[in-house]
C-alpha cells in the first residue's frame, strides 16, 4: 500500500459513489421484487434479492481484483478479449446454445445461471476501442486507416447484437465505442457524414423489419391508444413516478410494483424508486450518476496514458448513457427500449460487468496524478526521495513536471 499517496481522494470518491449506487440497487431490488409472492404458489420472497446479492458480491470481488491489476494488461490482451466477445455473441445466435426469450436470443445459460453476452461485449468493445484508439492515435484522423477499420470492428459487434435481435443494445454499443474513438482522435466530420449516409437507410430497414420497434414508436407517440397493451407499461411507469410526489410513498409502499408495472425490478426499477422515495430520492440517484460521470471524467483527464484515459472515458460514457437512456424510457421521454439502470437494476451479468468496468476506472485512478500532486512529486524527487511506482509510471506527471 505504499503508493496510495497518489490520487487517493479521487479513487475513494469514485469507489464510494459506486458503492452508493450499488446500495441503492440492493435496497430497490429487494423492495420491488419481494412482493412477487403469489399466494398459494411456493415462491421465496428473497429469491431475487439473493441472486442480486450474489452477483453484486461477485461484481465487487471482480472490481477489487481488476482495480489492483495494472489496467495496461488489458491493452495487451485486447485482441483475445475482442475475439472472446465475438465468439460469445456468435454462440448466442446458434439455436440450442442461445436461449430464446420473448422472441430474442440474448442469453447463454450455464447451469442455472443466465448470462447476457452483450453485457460482456459492452466491456470488451470498450477495451478494444480504447486500445485501437491508443495504438493508432496518429492515424485516427484519416478515413482509410483510422475511421473505416474502426467502423469495421465496432460494426461487427453491432450487427451481431442486432441479429439477436437487440436493437437497443446494438445502438448503445455503437454510441459508447464511438465516444471512445472520438476521444482518441476520430474526426467528428467523418462520423457525421457516415451517420448521414447510414442512419436514414438503417432506420427505414429497422422500422420496416422489426414490428416491436414500430409498436414502441407508435406507443410513444400515443400511449393512450392501447393502454392495456404496449402502452400499458409506460402508463403504469408514469403513474408510479407521478404518484411518488416530492417525498415518495415510503420504502416498500409502492403500489405499482404489485404487478401493475411489468419488469419492476429490472428495466423499470427506477419507476419504483421514484414512487417510493419521491422526487428527492430519484433526483439524488441522478445526482449520483452525474457525480460518477464527473469523477470518471476527472480520472480520464488525469490518466497517465492515452489508453487509460480512453478506457475511463468509455466506461464513464457507457454508464452515463445507459442511465440517461433508462431514465428517459421510464419517464416516457423516448420510446420504450429494454435497457437496465446500471448498478441498480436486477440483472446478473449486467451488474457484474459494470462493476468490473468500475474496477478498470479505479485501476486507472490509482495511477492518476493531478497538477498539484505532480508538483508535489517534483519537489519530492528534487529532495531525493523515492517516488511511488505509480508516480514514476505517469507520463502525464512527467510531462507536467517537465513543462514546469
Amino acid at each position: 500500500m505504499g503508493y496510495l499517496t497518489v490520487s487517493r481522494t479521487l479513487r475513494n470518491a469514485y469507489l464510494l459513489n459506486i458503492l452508493a449506487l450499488v446500495g441503492v440497487g440492493v435496497v430497490m431490488v429487494f423492495s420491488s421484487s419481494a412482493i412477487r409472492v403469489v399466494p398459494g404458489a411456493e415462491i421465496d420472497p428473497f429469491v431475487f434479492i439473493k441472486r442480486h446479492l450474489m452477483f453484486v458480491g461477485l461484481g465487487i470481488a471482480g472490481m477489487a481484483v481488476v482495480a489492483r491489476l495494472d489496467y495496461r494488461l488489458w491493452q495487451k490482451f485486447a485482441k483475445p478479449i475482442y475475439l472472446l466477445g465475438l465468439a460469445l455473441l456468435v454462440l448466442t445466435l446458434i439455436p440450442g446454445v442461445g436461449t430464446e426469450f420473448n422472441g430474442a436470443r440474448r442469453w447463454l445459460r450455464f447451469g442455472g445461471v443466465g448470462i447476457q453476452p452483450s453485457d460482456f461485449a459492452k466491456l470488451a468493445l470498450l477495451i478494444s476501442a480504447a486500445t485501437y484508439a491508443a495504438v493508432r492515435r496518429n492515424e485516427l484522423g484519416s478515413i482509410r486507416r483510422g475511421f473505416l477499420p474502426g467502423c469495421m470492428f465496432v460494426g461487427i459487434y453491432v450487427v451481431l447484437t442486432m441479429a439477436q435481435p437487440d436493437f437497443g443494445t446494438s445502438l448503445f454499443l455503437a454510441a459508447s465505442s464511438f465516444v471512445v474513438l472520438l476521444a482518441g482522435g476520430l474526426r467528428v466530420r467523418h462520423l457525421a457524414i457516415a451517420a448521414l449516409i447510414v442512419l436514414p437507410f438503417a432506420s427505414i430497414v429497422m422500422y420496416a423489419k422489426f414490428d416491436h420497434i414500430q409498436d414502441r414508436i407508435m406507443t410513444f407517440l400515443d400511449p393512450a391508444k392501447d393502454p392495456r397493451g404496449k402502452g400499458h407499461q409506460v402508463k403504469q411507469s408514469l403513474i408510479a413516478i407521478g404518484s411518488g410526489g416530492m417525498e415518495g410513498q415510503g420504502l416498500g409502499n409502492s403500489m405499482q410494483k404489485l404487478y401493475y408495472l411489468p419488469e419492476q425490478e429490472t428495466d423499470f426499477i427506477f419507476a419504483v424508486l421514484a414512487e417510493e422515495t419521491g422526487f428527492i430520492g430519484s433526483a439524488l440517484t441522478l445526482v449520483l450518476f452525474v457525480s460518477l460521470m464527473i469523477i470518471g471524467t476527472k480520472v480520464a483527464a488525469r490518466a497517465p496514458d492515452r489508453f487509460g484515459s480512453l478506457l475511463a472515458i468509455g466506461i464513464t460514457a457507457a454508464i452515463g448513457l445507459q442511465a440517461a437512456i433508462n431514465v428517459a424510457v421510464v419517464t416516457a421521454s423516448v420510446p420504450t427500449k429494454g435497457i437496465g439502470l446500471p448498478f441498480i437494476s436486477f440483472g446478473g451479468s449486467s451488474c457484474f460487468f459494470y462493476l468490473v468496468g468500475a474496477g478498470l476506472v479505479l485501476s486507472v485512478a490509482r495511477r492518476c496524478v493531478s497538477e498539484k500532486e505532480a508538483f508535489a512529486l517534483l519537489q519530492q524527487e528534487m529532495a531525493g526521495e523515492r517516488l511511488p511506482e505509480s508516480a514514476r509510471l505517469s507520463a502525464r506527471a512527467r510531462r507536467i513536471v517537465a513543462s514546469s
Binding site: 464527473i294 440517461a324 419517464t331
Partner: protein, 618 residues
C-alpha cells in the same frame, strides 16, 4: 455551462477530438439534469393527477350485502325471510397462476366428484377469462363438497378460488298468502305482491368497502380500507292474520276439491277498517319456486273483473231506500216474467219464482214486499226498481260505491294489473236494455275486491274504505317507518239507517230463508247476498257460471266481511236424494263462506250472537 467549462478546462492536451468526446460526456450530464427536470414535472407538478390515476388503478369497491327485510303476518308469523345458506364456487381467474390452471381445475373436479371433461372445461374457462376478476364455477355446491373445498382453500391449494355464501329468499309457508307476499327474482328484486310494492323498504342498502388490490385482484390489507356498513332492509308486518289466512286457504282447498272450478277468490276484510285479514286465490303458486305460470301468479281478486249478477241487487235497493222511494215493506208488483218494450230478451225469475204465499193482492195485482223480492233475488222486481230509479240515479249510486274505479288497495294499482272493472259511462247506456241489465248485475264488471268493498260499506254504515294489507314497516333499528291506517276511498252516501237497519234485515233474510240457506250457522248470524251470473262466451251467455257469495258477520255487529267468488265450477256433487246439486251462489259459494265466517270469528274470539236460539232449535 459552468460545469462544461470546468471540464473543458481540465483537458490538458487541448486536442480537438478529445474535446468532442467531452462534449458528448457533458451532453449526457446535461441530459441527466434535463431528466431530473422531467422528474420534477411528473412528481411535483402533476403529482395529484398521477396519484388519482394510481388510486383509480388500484382500488376496488366491494359491495357489502345487507339482509333484505322480512315479511310477517299481523300476528308475527314469518312469511318471507332472507337466509344465507349454502355456497357458490367462484374464481378470480386473474389470480390463478397460468401454470396452475390445470392443477386447480383437476383438484376442483375431484372435490366436486366430477370427471376429467369437467376439469378441462373449468380450465378452459379460467384460461379464456384470464383477464377477468370474476367467474362463477358453480352456482351452488353440495354441503359435503363445500366442506372439502373449504379445507383445501385453508391449505392454500386453490389459488384464486373462493366460496361465497348464497343469499336465499325463503318463504317458510310456501303457497301461504303467496298472492299477498309475492316473490323476488334471482337478483333479489321484488317481482310481485308485498315484495314488489315495498321494494324500497325491504331492500337492504348495500354497504361499500374500498380496498386496495394488486394487479391480480388480491386485496392488500391495511391499505386504503374504508368501510361503509350495509343497512339491512326494513321488516313488514301485514294486516293478514295467519289464523284466518290458514282458514281461508283450507276452506278454499276443500271447495276446489269439491267443485273443481277454474278459479276461486276468497277475501276476508275487517269491517270497520278495510284491512285485509286473509286473501287467497286458486290457482296459486309457491313463491319459493314461482315458475312461469303467469295465470297462477296473478292476484285475480283484483285483476279479473266479472259480471256480479245478483250480488249487485242490494246496492240497487239501498239506493232506492236512501232516496226515500221505497222501504223494506213497500209493495212492488210481481210478475215472474217481465217484457220490456224494445228488449229482445224477457226478464224472468225462471227457476226461483217467489212462492205464492208471499204474494199480496192489491188492486187486482199481485205484489211482494221489496224485502221478499231481494231475499228471493227476483229479477223482475229489481228491474222495476231500477226503472223507478232511472239511469242517472243508478249510475250515481254505482260509482259512489267504488265501482268503475280502482280500490286504492295498497298492493293494487295499474302496476299490479288491478282492474277498475267496467261501468259504462252514461252516454253509452242503451235505452231499453241497460237499466234492466244493470239492475240485476249485468253490463257491469267488478273485481271480487270491489264487490267486497261495497258490501263492507253496507256492513259498516256506508264507508267505502281503501283495502289495505300493509300494517307496519319497521326499520332494522326498530323505528316504525310506515303505519297503515284506514282510509276512505269514497263515501257511498248511504246512511246508517239504510245500511244497518233496513238492508241488514233483508240480508239476514237471504241467509235465513232466501237463496243462501246453505250459509246458515248456529253460532253466528250471517248477512249476505248470493250471486249466480252466467258468463259470456263467444258473444253469448253460456251455461258456465260465476257463483259467488258476499256477506258479513255477525250480522248485527259486523266484524268481518267475506267474499267467495267461484268461477266455472265443474264438479258434480249429489244431494242426499242422489240428484246433482245445481251450481248457484247459494250452493257453491255460500257454505264455504259460512265455514270461513264461523272459524274466523272463533279465531278472533267474537262471542256467539244467538246461543239461545241454537239451544231452542236443537
Amino acid at each position: 455551462m459552468k460545469l462544461l467549462f470546468w471540464m473543458l478546462r481540465e483537458t490538458g492536451g487541448g486536442v480537438s477530438p478529445r474535446r468532442s468526446a467531452r462534449i458528448v460526456l457533458g451532453g449526457v450530464i446535461v441530459v441527466l439534469f434535463g431528466l431530473s427536470g422531467r422528474l420534477f414535472s411528473l412528481q411535483v407538478w402533476h403529482h395529484d393527477d398521477y396519484l388519482a390515476q394510481r388510486h383509480a388503478n388500484s382500488t376496488r369497491t366491494l359491495t357489502l350485502p345487507g339482509t333484505r327485510g322480512s315479511i310477517f303476518s299481523e300476528d308475527k308469523v314469518c312469511l318471507g325471510q332472507t337466509t344465507f345458506s349454502g355456497a357458490s364456487l367462484v374464481a378470480n381467474p386473474r389470480a390463478v397462476p397460468g401454470d396452475q390452471r390445470a392443477e386447480v381445475a383437476t383438484r376442483l373436479a375431484s372435490l366436486l366428484g366430477q370427471d376429467g371433461d369437467y376439469a378441462r372445461n373449468v380450465e378452459n374457462q379460467l384460461y379464456e377469462r384470464r383477464d377477468k376478476y370474476y367467474y362463477c364455477i358453480e352456482r351452488e355446491v353440495a354441503i359435503d363438497a363445500t366442506a372439502k373445498i373449504d379445507a383445501e382453500l385453508r391449505l392454500g391449494n386453490l389459488p384464486g378460488i373462493e366460496l361465497r355464501a348464497i343469499e336465499t329468499r325463503e318463504y317458510p309457508l310456501g303457497n301461504f298468502a303467496s298472492h299477498i307476499v309475492g316473490f323476488v327474482g334471482r337478483d333479489m328484486y321484488g317481482q310481485e305482491g308485498v315484495e314488489r310494492a315495498l321494494e324500497s323498504y325491504l331492500a337492504a342498502k348495500p354497504g361499500k368497502r374500498v380496498i386496495a388490490v394488486d394487479a391480480l385482484g388480491h386485496p392488500i390489507e391495511n391499505i386504503d380500507d374504508r368501510i361503509e356498513a350495509a343497512q339491512d332492509g326494513a321488516s313488514v308486518y301485514l294486516t293478514i292474520n295467519s289464523g284466518i289466512q290458514a282458514i281461508v286457504e283450507d276452506e278454499l282447498h276443500s271447495l276446489v276439491d269439491m267443485w273443481e272450478p277454474e278459479t276461486v277468490s276468497v277475501i276476508v276484510m275487517e269491517t270497520n277498517t278495510g284491512a285485509i285479514l286473509g286473501l287467497a286465490n286458486y290457482p296459486s303458486f309457491n313463491p319459493n319456486s314461482p315458475g312461469s305460470d303467469a295465470a297462477a301468479r296473478k292476484n285475480i281478486a283484483i285483476t279479473d273483473p266479472f259480471e256480479p249478477g245478483s250480488m249487485f241487487k242490494p246496492l240497487i235497493v239501498c239506493s232506492a231506500y236512501q232516496r226515500g222511494l221505497l222501504t223494506p215493506t213497500s209493495l212492488v208488483e210481481y210478475t215472474p216474467e217481465l217484457s220490456i218494450p224494445g228488449r229482445k230478451k224477457q226478464i224472468t225469475d225462471h227457476g226461483h219464482e217467489i212462492p205464492n204465499e208471499y204474494w199480496v193482492q192489491w188492486n187486482g195485482r199481485s205484489c211482494v214486499t221489496v224485502n221478499r223480492a231481494l231475499v228471493s233475488s227476483s229479477n223482475t222486481v229489481m228491474t222495476r226498481i231500477g226503472l223507478l230509479l232511472g239511469c242517472d240515479e243508478l249510475y250515481d249510486s254505482i260509482t259512489k260505491c267504488g265501482f268503475g274505479r280502482r280500490t286504492g288497495f295498497d298492493l293494487g294499482g295499474p302496476r299490479f294489473g288491478e282492474s277498475a272493472g267496467v261501468v259504462r259511462p252514461l252516454d253509452k247506456w242503451t235505452v231499453p236494455s241497460s237499466i234492466p241489465s244493470v239492475s240485476i248485475g249485468y253490463e257491469v264488471q267488478v273485481t271480487p275486491m270491489q264487490m267486497l268493498n261495497c258490501f263492507n260499506a253496507i256492513a259498516n254504515g256506508g264507508h267505502v274504505y281503501k283495502p289495505w294489507v300493509i300494517g307496519r314497516v319497521v326499520g332494522p333499528d326498530g323505528k316504525v317507518l310506515h303505519e297503515g291506517k284506514p282510509e276512505i276511498l269514497v263515501e257511498s252516501g248511504l246512511s246508517e239507517e239504510v245500511t244497518r237497519k233496513m238492508m241488514n234485515e233483508t240480508l239476514k233474510g237471504v241467509v235465513e230463508d232466501g237463496t243462501a240457506t246453505g250459509a246458515q250457522l248456529k253460532q253466528y248470524r250471517i248477512a249476505g247476498k248470493t250471486g249466480t251470473a252466467m258468463k259470456v262466451k263467444n258473444g253469448q251467455y253460456s251455461e258456465d257460471k260465476v257463483c259467488s257469495f258476499v256477506g258479513y258477520a255477525p250480522a248485527d255487529n259486523p266484524v268481518i266481511s267475506v267474499i267467495v267468488v267461484v268461477n266455472e265450477a265443474h264438479g258434480k256433487v249429489l244431494n242426499k236424494y242422489g240428484w246433482p246439486i245445481r251450481h248457484y251462489g247459494g250452493t257453491v259459494a255460500a257454505p264455504t263462506m259460512s265455514r270461513i265466517v264461523l272459524r274466523s270469528l272463533k279465531q278472533l274470539g267474537v262471542p256467539e250472537d244467538m246461543p239461545e236460539e241454537t239451544a231452542s232449535k236443537d
